[in-house]
C-alpha cells in the first residue's frame, strides 16, 4: 500500500537525519542564545541604569540612539534580516551558508529582543533597595552587579526561557539559508519534496523541544526565587 510506503519512507528519513538535526538545532539555539545575552544583557541593563533617574545617568542622545537602533533591528523580519546580514556573516564566519553561518543572523536578530527582555526584568528592581545601597555608599557599578542583577535573577531566568524558545523558532527559519536542524528537514523534505509526514514529525519534535525548554526554565525561575517560601 502506498500509505504504508509513505510511513516507512518517512521513518527511514527520520532515522537517518533526525539525530544530527536535533543536535544542530539544540546547539545552534544554545550558542545563539548565549551570544544574544552576551550582547543584549549589558544593553538591557544600560537601558534602565542610563535613564535620567537611573543609577548611571547617560546622555539623553545616547539613550535615544540606543533605543532607535534596538527598535530598528527588532522591526526587520528575521527571514529578510538573514539575507541582509550576509556581508557580516561572511566577514565573521567566511561563508553565508551552513549551520555555523546561521548563528550570526540569529544573534543579530535576537540580541535586541534579549535587550528588551533584560530591560523589563531589571526595571522590576525595588527602588527602595537601590536607595538603601546608595545610602551605604555603593557605586553605580556595584549597584548594578550586586543589587540590580542578583535581585532580578528569577525574572531574568523567566525571560531567558522566552528568549531561548523564540530563538528555537528562528533556527527553523534558518533552514532556508542552509542552516541545519529541524527546520532544514521540514523545509527540504516537506516543502521542496512534498513529504508532509516528515515535515509533520519535525514540527512535533520542535513543539516537544519548546515544551522541554519552557518547562525547565519555569521550574528554574521558581526554584531560584528566594521571595517564594519553600
Amino acid at each position: 500500500m502506498p500509505e504504508n510506503n509513505a510511513w516507512a519512507e518517512a521513518l527511514e528519513i527520520l532515522k537517518n537525519d533526525m539525530p544530527l538535526a536535533l543536535w544542530e538545532t539544540f546547539y545552534v539555539t544554545v550558542v545563539s542564545t548565549f551570544f544574544a545575552f552576551v550582547i543584549g544583557m549589558p544593553l538591557g541593563i544600560l537601558l534602565v541604569a542610563g535613564e535620567k533617574n537611573g543609577v548611571l545617568p547617560l546622555p539623553a542622545w545616547l539613550m535615544k540612539t540606543l533605543n532607535v537602533i534596538i527598535n530598528l533591528l527588532r522591526s526587520v523580519p528575521f527571514i529578510i534580516l538573514m539575507i541582509m546580514v550576509f556581508p557580516v556573516t561572511r566577514l565573521i564566519v567566511g561563508t553565508t551558508v551552513g549551520t555555523v553561518a546561521s548563528i550570526v543572523p540569529l544573534v543579530i536578530a535576537a540580541f535586541p529582543f534579549v535587550a528588551r527582555l533584560v530591560e523589563s526584568s531589571i526595571r522590576e528592581t525595588d527602588r527602595g533597595v537601590i536607595e538603601a545601597a546608595q545610602s551605604m555608599g555603593a557605586s553605580p557599578f556595584k549597584i548594578i552587579v550586586k543589587v540590580m542583577v542578583p535581585e532580578c535573577v528569577p525574572s531574568l531566568v523567566s525571560n531567558a526561557t522566552i528568549a531561548i524558545t523564540t530563538i528555537l523558532g528562528y533556527t527553523a527559519m534558518s533552514g532556508i539559508i542552509g542552516g541545519g536542524g529541524l527546520g532544514k528537514i521540514a523545509i527540504n523534505y516537506g516543502y521542496y519534496r512534498y513529504k508532509y509526514l516528515v515535515m509533520l514529525f519535525a514540527v512535533v519534535i520542535h513543539v516537544l523541544l519548546v515544551q522541554l525548554f519552557q518547562g525547565i526554565g519555569t521550574r528554574l525561575a521558581i526554584k531560584c526565587d528566594k521571595r517564594i517560601k519553600h
Partner: protein
C-alpha cells in the same frame, strides 16, 4: 555634630515647582536621639535624604562632624555615606540574599575579607537578637525581624549616625515598641547619633530627647521633647501633641474648657481633681484624659470642663498651677 543650615529643596515637575523644604536650620548633637516629626508631605523624608545627599538640596549646607556634605564629590560622598547608615519603612533588604549576606553587604562594598565580614555579621545578628536567622531569607521573616536585620546591616560599618526613615511605621504597636527599645539600646551602647523621622508622636515621646516639628517645609517648633509635650506653642505642635482637641468643642455655653498638662512633677497618687473639689469647692468635669504613670509620676494631659465663671476659672487655674500642673484655658 550635624548642622543643617538653611536647607531648601525644590522639585521640578512637568507643570510646576514644588518647594518641599523652605530654609530648614537644625543642629543635632553627638550621641542624642533627635526626632523630626510632621504630617505626610511636611518634607521630613526629603530632609532626611538631604542629610546623606540621596536628595541634593537646592540651597543650604549640611555639615557633619565638620565636613560639608554638599561640597563633596561623588567618591568622597560614597566614603562619607558609609558612616551614615539608614533604615527604612519598608526595610529594603535584598530579597535574594539570606540575612547573613544582607548584613555582609555593606562590608562587601568596603572590600572587607569574606571571613571577617561573616564574623562581624554574625556578631551583629546576635546584637539585634536574631542569631538563629542567619540562613533565613527576608521573605521568611516577620516585619519586625526584617527591620532588625536592616538595623544589623546599618550598624555593620560602625556608623556615626543612624537615620531612621519611618522605621516603625509599618509595624504593629508591640513590634514598634521592641524596635524602639533596640534603637535606644544601640544609641546608649554604641553612642551613635540617631535621627528619627516619624509621623507618630508616641515614637518621639518614647525615645527622643529633642524634636523638630516640620510643617509644610519649615520648622514650626523645635526643642526638648518634654517642653514641647507640655507647652506646645505652634498650631502644628498642638495638633500633634493633643490630637483629640478638635473633637472637644464645647457646645454648652455654661461651661469653660481648661487643658491641664502633667509633666511629671505631680505624683500619680494625689487625687488632684477631687482635692480641688474639696479644698476649693470647684467641681471639674473630666472631658478627656490621656495620662500615664512613669515611675510614680504623672505625665499627659486632660481637658476639664468648668462652670462658665471667670472667677472660678481663675481660681481653678491658680490651684492647678500651685500643684505644678500646666494649664491653658481653651
Amino acid at each position: 555634630m550635624i548642622e543643617i543650615k538653611n536647607i531648601s529643596k525644590t522639585f521640578l515637575t512637568a507643570e510646576n515647582e514644588v518647594q518641599a523644604l523652605k530654609g530648614i536650620t537644625l543642629t543635632v548633637n553627638d550621641g542624642e536621639i533627635y526626632g523630626i516629626i510632621g504630617m505626610s508631605g511636611a518634607g521630613k523624608s526629603t530632609l532626611v535624604r538631604c542629610i546623606n545627599m540621596l536628595e541634593k538640596p537646592s540651597s543650604g549646607t549640611i555639615v557633619i562632624n565638620g565636613k560639608d556634605m554638599t561640597a563633596l564629590n561623588e567618591k568622597e560622598l560614597r566614603a562619607a555615606r558609609s558612616k551614615i547608615s539608614m533604615i527604612f519603612q519598608s526595610f529594603n533588604l535584598l530579597m535574594q540574599r539570606n540575612c547573613l549576606k544582607n548584613v555582609c553587604f555593606p562590608l562587601e562594598l568596603q572590600g572587607m575579607k569574606k571571613a571577617d565580614a561573616v564574623k562581624r555579621a554574625k556578631e551583629l545578628l546576635e546584637l539585634v537578637g536574631l542569631p538563629d536567622k542567619a540562613k533565613s531569607y527576608p521573605s521568611q521573616l516577620s516585619g519586625g525581624q526584617q527591620q532588625r536585620v536592616a538595623i544589623a546591616r546599618a550598624l555593620a560599618t560602625d556608623p556615626d549616625v543612624l537615620l531612621c526613615d519611618e522605621a516603625t511605621s509599618a509595624l504593629d504597636p508591640k513590634t514598634t515598641s521592641d524596635i524602639l527599645d533596640l534603637i535606644t539600646d544601640i544609641n546608649r551602647r554604641l553612642g551613635i547619633t540617631v535621627i528619627v523621622i516619624t509621623h507618630q508622636m508616641s515614637v518621639v515621646e518614647r525615645i527622643c530627647s529633642r524634636v523638630a516639628i516640620l510643617d509644610n517645609g519649615i520648622v514650626a517648633e523645635e526643642g526638648k521633647v518634654t517642653d514641647i509635650f507640655t507647652r506646645p506653642h505652634s498650631d502644628t505642635a498642638k495638633r500633634l501633641v493633643f490630637p483629640d482637641d478638635p473633637g472637644i468643642v464645647t457646645e454648652d455655653e455654661k461651661e469653660r474648657l481648661v487643658r491641664a498638662v502633667f509633666d511629671g512633677r505631680t505624683s500619680a497618687d494625689s487625687p488632684l481633681i477631687a482635692q480641688m473639689a474639696i479644698s476649693q469647692n470647684i467641681i471639674a468635669n473630666i472631658r478627656s484624659a490621656s495620662t500615664k504613670t512613669i515611675s510614680g509620676k504623672l505625665y499627659g494631659s486632660m481637658i476639664l470642663a468648668l462652670p462658665d465663671d471667670d472667677e472660678i476659672v481663675r481660681r481653678a487655674v491658680e490651684y492647678l498651677n500651685s500643684q505644678n500642673v500646666i494649664t491653658e484655658v481653651l
